[in-house]
Every structure is written in structure tokens, then in C-alpha cells.
Symmetry: C2
Subunit: 498 residues, 2 copies
Amino acid sequence: MPLSLLSSPLDLSAGSMSRQQQLLARFKRAILGGQLPPGSRLPSTRSLCEQLQVARNTVLAVYEQLTAEGYAEADRQGTRVATLLAMPAGIRAEPSVARQDRQRPSRRVSAIKSTRDAGDRALPLTPGMPALNRFALNAWLRAQERALKRAGPMALAYGEALGEPALREAIAQYLRVARGVRCEAGQVVVTEGAQGALSLCVRLFANPGERAWVEDPGYGGVLAAFHSGDMKIRSMPVDDEGILIADRDWRWPPRLIHVTPSHQYPTGAVLSLARRLALIARAREHGCWIIEDDYDSDFCHHGHPIPAMQGLVPEAPVLYVGTFSKTLFPGLRIGFLILPASVGEDTWRALAEMLRGGHRLEQLALAEFMAGGQFARHLGRMKRLYRERQQALRAALQTHLPGLDISGGASGLHLTLRLPPGCADTAVSAAARAAGMNVGALSSFSAGPPQARHNGLVIGYGNTSEEQYDALIRCLAGIVRRTLRHQIRAWQADAGAA
Amino acid sequence: MPLSLLSSPLDLSAGSMSRQQQLLARFKRAILGGQLPPGSRLPSTRSLCEQLQVARNTVLAVYEQLTAEGYAEADRQGTRVATLLAMPAGIRAEPSVARQDRQRPSRRVSAIKSTRDAGDRALPLTPGMPALNRFALNAWLRAQERALKRAGPMALAYGEALGEPALREAIAQYLRVARGVRCEAGQVVVTEGAQGALSLCVRLFANPGERAWVEDPGYGGVLAAFHSGDMKIRSMPVDDEGILIADRDWRWPPRLIHVTPSHQYPTGAVLSLARRLALIARAREHGCWIIEDDYDSDFCHHGHPIPAMQGLVPEAPVLYVGTFSKTLFPGLRIGFLILPASVGEDTWRALAEMLRGGHRLEQLALAEFMAGGQFARHLGRMKRLYRERQQALRAALQTHLPGLDISGGASGLHLTLRLPPGCADTAVSAAARAAGMNVGALSSFSAGPPQARHNGLVIGYGNTSEEQYDALIRCLAGIVRRTLRHQIRAWQADAGAA
């Protein structure tokens, strides 16, 4: 009998494991560690009770559990370690001190770089954050209760893989009217936010090793989605008319092209009609899919909204992606993917296997919210609010940082401010965070080499109220000036040293 | 000026598009269709008003919108079609009648086969469905409200990518005590149900073309997850001790092995201790990862639960997957993945890029529910309930279908009944559905050739109350007998014909 089993008394202090658990663990360790080899006899219950001062029932329960789990077996003379339990090589009861694991992560893990901003999203000026405290939360909770009452206990069951039919219908109807998307409810897939939709685009339409084009600067999340599908990624430049693709680029056409035509993320450029048409024609010619990420299109601030590319011409090779993260709230995590009507039966079958439905309460509540007109009312209220906030931000920028170029603002929740060369956006963004505001550095959205990167600030106005901008931007202007002075002094010192 | 633009009057009936929308659409069609080529002049607003009998403001608004969207441009003489808008080849304003799309789905789409059961999950005897009408829904909604009050509006924001810290802590604590899992909160990833966790295992640890082993019969959902990662799948047989792996199988070791050790899905076999240890040792030796899918382990019906493989020995190469779909409700769609402590920083970074958090209200409510003890109480109540229901099902099976082998039931929500050869489970299952009960055909869980497939019924007792079993199983027994008689007659006819 190994000493370790019986030598030390059991720990009786409160908070530790029960005596039964301790004894069970001791036996398992001794068996797995080889101190109690297969076929060896366990001590009689009586002797164990006496040595360890525990009740006989405790020992009996431990032996029973050891037998149930396959560590031991009963015979006529009592209990012994299971004879068939040959300990395979490589099994150790105690952790090794240092060990080289042969278990490796996938190759794509090393391809995926950090793009996420470190900023605290509760801070003012956070890009992409809607007005959380203006959300009609009570109306939302009531919609959830109504949906629950109507559906009964089956609302708790697995939902349909592609999403609740009522929600798919409501989304199709909204997109037809508000975004000019050509779709029926049957083309709608409810997804885990826009990110879930991007991930589905990759799984459904791209093979490992195929090319994908992204905007540069652009949305970092799409890189993780494309890398997850082992795609080769190429960054395409963005100018005032959106993504810029040269004729020679089409010599190696991609499988997928990710674009944000309504309000380029993060520059705010609107993709021009000529480029939209050319992109559709070329994509069709080369068998590519355009992923139209319409993440920020619902709040149009100037004139009428520009309809989605998806509906621009019939049968456009467009996978349309959207989300309720900005229109309702990000924590809801409901997005959608609109597949072309031409997509085949096998794709729908594969989708139904990949998805498992769920989040039915939220999906049913959202369907209620949309069908009952509360969604449209909320959008209307928020549009007015964001327009006012954008104006307040623009006014503050013109007052405190005059002369700097401002882009974006046709729709969405942020403006992009260009900084003069030498005023590194990353330095400004870090100092601004220390001062309590979360503005993004434009260069951090860029995959290109540092010198070619866009230099600027991405400033959100969604979740920051009107009266705050003057003080915040005054403070930001101070940071910009200090960063510039610091750089100029460094240049002067360099020049003096040379 | 193309005739189509002006020849037909606008539709003034209620419910149709507004005049402005109709006119806008007509112009866009004419421009995209080439009837109005680039540079051509649009009619003067005055003449258009007269011809179409619309207000001048309507026409002005249409021209403004055409200009805003890039279809037209203003010059001194009025408005003309944008001169730079060369229509690329391949753009058509009207859908073609028949067209070969070059846009193809990915190869994996054709690899993914339908495995999903067609049955109506609201019917009695549905496998894997918990007792929906016994869920403490009011307590749940109150937990959600409390969580919301405590967190304030930021509860609506993006959550942490890996899940709410309070929930990760609660899951780690539960798994340590209830399942013997060795983990800290930092190893927990909150996922979109078990399916989301499986998909992450593939993305994090497997490369395209690498091998994966699955149980046969087994959980169909894992096939879609493995195919999504372009893995080569091999089915391994299952017997009374769970997955059966021969020495020669290790000559081509896989990257991932999916097992359900606590309660094999769907046979209910418990993986023996000897096989658990051997599997861990071999996986370690060959650098494989074991995915321990502990989907059905929380309701142990005989004696003490058998702890998870993950905690059996230190540093086991196990990715532990679980879900709240059975313990709470499937529509919640919250699962978890426990990564080994040895997993490197790059894996965590990649995870943070792949995930976007979200569903915070539900995650915070669940954390409340667990920390407040309501989860444990609900589990206790459900365990008693399911034990009674399993006994009632067993009794009914023994009364009405005596002599047939029943497997499973050590834990979980279903029993597996073996059918005699010649009594095809698919026929019985289809007839049972027509009779209003949703039992699964065991052969449909199998990837093997039809003749080698397991023949039986997977019968759920989670969402079916005690008093129903006698009548349901009597009816099922009638179906089994009729199916057998039918087959015997067919055999006799064959023999007579021969």
C-alpha cells in the first residue's frame, strides 16, 4: 500500500473537499500514478476506516465510485485495481515541470494580427458606438415579453437555423424600402452580427488559398474572417470615391471583395456610381463575389440615402451584409446576410448545417419591434439626434482645429479628421485616451507600410451628447498642438545634430 | 429622349411607389440601360412636369437625387447624364432570361450533407429537448432585469470578445466542482452554443486537409464544423465502451478527435476509463487534440457523475466543449469552450479577433442565475424530473416492446432502443412522426454504409411528461410490429418469386 494514501490524515478544515472527495482523489492519483498497479488489492474497508478515522460508509462510497468510474473492480475477496487498466505511456498523475507540447495552433492563428482598438468604449467620442442611453429599452423589454407570451414555451426551443421567419420577413421588407435591396424573406440569413455574416460569406463562397481584396484603410474584423478561411488577402487603396481598383489588378482576380460603399470605414468616402458599376461588371466577368458591408448606412445625414449596390442592377454578384449593432445596440449581436436569389439548393442545405438558430427571444422581440413600427420610430429619432451631434462636432472641430480636412459624415456615426504630417495619429490617440476620450488612430485601420498610411483621427459622435463637444475638442486640439510641437522640436534637434 | 421614360403615365394608385420614386426609377433604368447615354441632356423640368402631370418640386427632387447618386451632373444649361459614367460591359438594367453564373459556392458546400432531422421538435419524444415548460422563466427574466439595472446602459454596448468576465468565472467554478474540469475563468471562452465552440476548435487548431475523427454513429453537427475547416473526416466505430480506435488507426493520426465520453451521442455508451487514458496518451504522443463534447453530462441518473476527461490527468490535450442548451433552454444559445492553460498568447489574440462578444444581457443574466444559486436549484429539480421520466419511458418500453435492447441513460435526456434487423428504423421513425411523435432513427446518425449502420430509435424523455409514455410507446410498438410484418411479407414474396 503506497504510503501517500494513508500516511497523512485527511484535511478536516471547513472549505476543503469532503473526506469522501479527498479519499477518492487520493486513490485516483495513486492508481494513475502507478503506485497502485492493475490487479493490486485495495485495503479492506475496515482497516482504512481505522487508519484514517473516517466512517465505513465513506469508504464504501469511495470504493463504489472507483468501481463505477472503472478504476477498480469487485471480486470475492473485496476490491482491486482494475486488471485491464494498463497505464499507457505518457500518462502522468502529476504535471511535468516543463514540457514541449506537440499540440500546435493552426497556421491561421499566426496570420491573424491584433486590430482591435485598446480604448475603453465607455469613453466619449468612441467610434461606431450608438447612443446607448437613448435606446428605448423599456419598449424593447416589453416587445420581448409580448413575443414570449405569444410563442409560449416553444420560444425556448431551438429556432430555425436561418433565423425566425417573422424576423427574416421584417428585414427583407425594411431593406427593400430603406436600402433598395432586391430581396425576399427567403434570401435573408440572420447572423451573429456583421462579423457572423462575413464569416459565412467566406465559408460558403471561398476556398483555402483563394484571394480576397479589402479596403485600406478598412474594417479590421474582415481580416480575421478571411484568414479564418485561409484566404490570401490584398489591401486596395481608398480615395475620395472609395475603393480604387486598377485595370491591372484584375489580372489576378479575387474570389471575394469586401467593400463599405455607403460610408467607407473609416474614411467615410461614398463609393461613386461609376466605380460601383465597374466593380459589378468586373466581378461578374471574373466570377468574384462583392461583399457589400452596409454597416453604417441607416443614418443618412444629407438628402436621400444612396441605395445599396446590391439593388443597383438585377442579379448583381453581391452578398449584402448588415447589422443592428448601430441602429439598435451592439450587445444585441444580430446581423444579416442577403444571399442572391440565384444561390443554389446545396448552399442553403450547407447553411442549415452550419447554423443552429437560437437567440429566439431576441429575434422574436426584434421582429415585433420592426413590425410594430418601433424600429422605424427609433431610427427617425436617432437620425435627428445624430445629425445634431455631428453638427456640434463639426462646429467644435472648426473652432478648435481650423484648417484640418474633415471627411465622412454622409451617414453613420463618425467623422474622420486628417492630421498634418508629423503629428502622429497614434500619439494623439494615446494621449487623448489618457485625457478621457476614445478617438481612433486612422493609421491603425491600415494594413499598408507605415509611411504610406493615412494619418488622422476617427471621431465618433454616436454616444456623446451635444454639450460635450466644445470642451472635448478644445482638449483634443491642445493634444494635437503639443504632439506637433514635440515633433517639430525633434526635427530641429535632428537638424542641429546633422 | 427614350419613349419608355415619358410615354406611359405614372401609376397613381394607392400602395404603389410615390411619383417621385417612380420617376427616379425610370431615369435610373434608362441611364443604366443605355437609352440615356453619358452626356445626354435630361428634359427640362418644365417640359417633364407638363408631359407627366407632376409637380415641379417632384421633378427637381428627382434630378437632385440623380445628381447626388452620381447618375447626373448639373451644368449651365440644366442637367445631363454624368459624362464619366461609361457603362461597363456586362451591366444590364433588366434581368437576363437565362444566365450561367460564374459565381460558384465553395468546395466545402458540396462536402456538407444534410444531417438534420426533419421532425417537428414540438412533438413528444424529441431527443435532446429539455423540459421547456418547467424552465424557471420568470426567475430568468428577473435575473435579466437585475443584470441590466446593475450594468446600466453600457450593458447594451459590445461585450468582451471572450464573454462576460462574471459568466466566465461562474462557468469555471461550476465545471471544477460538477465535472472535475481543471480550469480557471481565463481559460473559458463563451460561444454560440456547442456548435460555435466546435467551429472555434477547428479554426484555432486545424489546417485545411488535416484529418479529423468522429464517432459513428455520432453528432451530425460536428461534420459541418469539420468540413467548414476543409478537414478530411474519418468515422470511427462506437461500441458499449464508446469510441473504438485500433492501433493501426494511429498510423495516420488526425489533428482533431471529436468524442462524447459522458454519454455517447446517440448510443448513450460511457467511454471506459481504459479507453480514456489510452486516448489521452495517444493524442499526446501524436500531437492531436481531443474535443471532449460534454453536451449531455449534467444530468447524471446513476450514482455519482463520472468526471470529465479534461481533468482526468494534468495537461490532457483536451478541448472541453459544453452548452446550456440542455441545462437551461436551447434557444439561449450559450455554450463554452475550455482551452488548456498551455495555449499560447497568439491563440488568445486570434480568438479576440474572431469573436465580437455580444448577447450581454443574456450572458449577464446567466452569470446572475449561476452566482445566485438558481442554476444549481434548477439543475437539481430537472435531474429528479428527468430521472422519473426516464423510468416511466423504460417501464413503457419493457411493457410494450419487451426483449429489445435499451442503451444509454447513465445521464442525459434520451434512451436508445435497438430494433431487430428487417425493422428499418427510418420507416419506423417516419411512421411515428405521422402518428405525432418525433423519435430519431439511429441509422441517420451514421456515416457508414447502410448495411453496417446501427438500427434503432433515439427516444427523448426530456420534454415529455410522465403520464404520456404508456400511450405513446404502445402506439410506437404497434408501428414497430407493423413495420416488421410488412418486411416479413416482402421477404416471403421474394422467396416465393425466387
